[in-house]
Symmetry: C2
Subunit: 188 residues, 2 copies
Amino acid sequence: MSHSVKRDFPVWNIRRLLEPGPIVLVSSAWKRETNIMTMGWHTVMEFQPSLVGCIISNANYSFEMIRKSRACVINVPTADMAATVVRIGNSSGRDIDKFAEFELTAVRAQRVQAPLISECYANLECRLADASWIRKYNFFVFEVVKAHVATSPDVPTTIHYRGDGEFLIAGKTTRRYRRLFRPALLDS
Amino acid sequence: MSHSVKRDFPVWNIRRLLEPGPIVLVSSAWKRETNIMTMGWHTVMEFQPSLVGCIISNANYSFEMIRKSRACVINVPTADMAATVVRIGNSSGRDIDKFAEFELTAVRAQRVQAPLISECYANLECRLADASWIRKYNFFVFEVVKAHVATSPDVPTTIHYRGDGEFLIAGKTTRRYRRLFRPALLDS
């Protein structure tokens, strides 16, 4: 796992990171504690404001930390971090300090208390924008208020969870079909 | 594009198809019309009942058809269909009959009026389960009531939209990290 130089990234365009469906690491902070969880059930909801919806089970230790602090960071890991992603998902913040246990580097965020995970390709600072479906579905709507994205590579080798212990690893990116796109992209 | 033999698939496990974040084709029917749209903003929300949430813009011709019929089919295309996926996304059902225009085969669904797209790897018959965020966010919650999945290949080469005319094409699937998983998978 390596640390990369990051640049500010426009929050309205974070669909480029989340829309292909990578598994992500969600970091949180509450009082003097931090935690990290894996999360695979998320979707972009709006460009501006930059909204992301996701399911965080109330069985997770992170649930109350995020609900109370009304914030988190969504971090996008790459294939070199796959074993760590699994270990994070199979341990609980009730028992261990995950930053220490997995030797991850917490970097101070600019807009929220939750720390960025330096080793990840991208870090999206999020504030809770709508809590009204938390009780109904464990569904959180976050606004991405600040985004940090590695300057290289251009395209991260993300990992995508398929259930049953299997990961799909991102393959090639193609612009081959770009000429077919009209200005109003994929809007029917 | 080919047609594949399909089997019934347990609806609680459709996360295996949708969680990695493929772009999908949503088919609908209302009165004597059918339509197809591309959709990339979706997430699994629950295993049982099998819930999927997604954004369908009210600018889309499909929006009212789905809202009124309270149903749709979520179809999972593969890389061989990429050009068709783009063309579907860049045309409107207001102007053309997309099944005819793109030479796709509509197959009768079992539980909903909307047709299955035979050429797709998987077809998920969906009923609208919660309409309460349609006005607020264009967010639809569907229950998958019936799923049809191709018997081969085991893993589809799905395509994932990255914005800006770029597709990520699914790479390898790995079970290498499976031994690290504890029974309560990815639950922290």
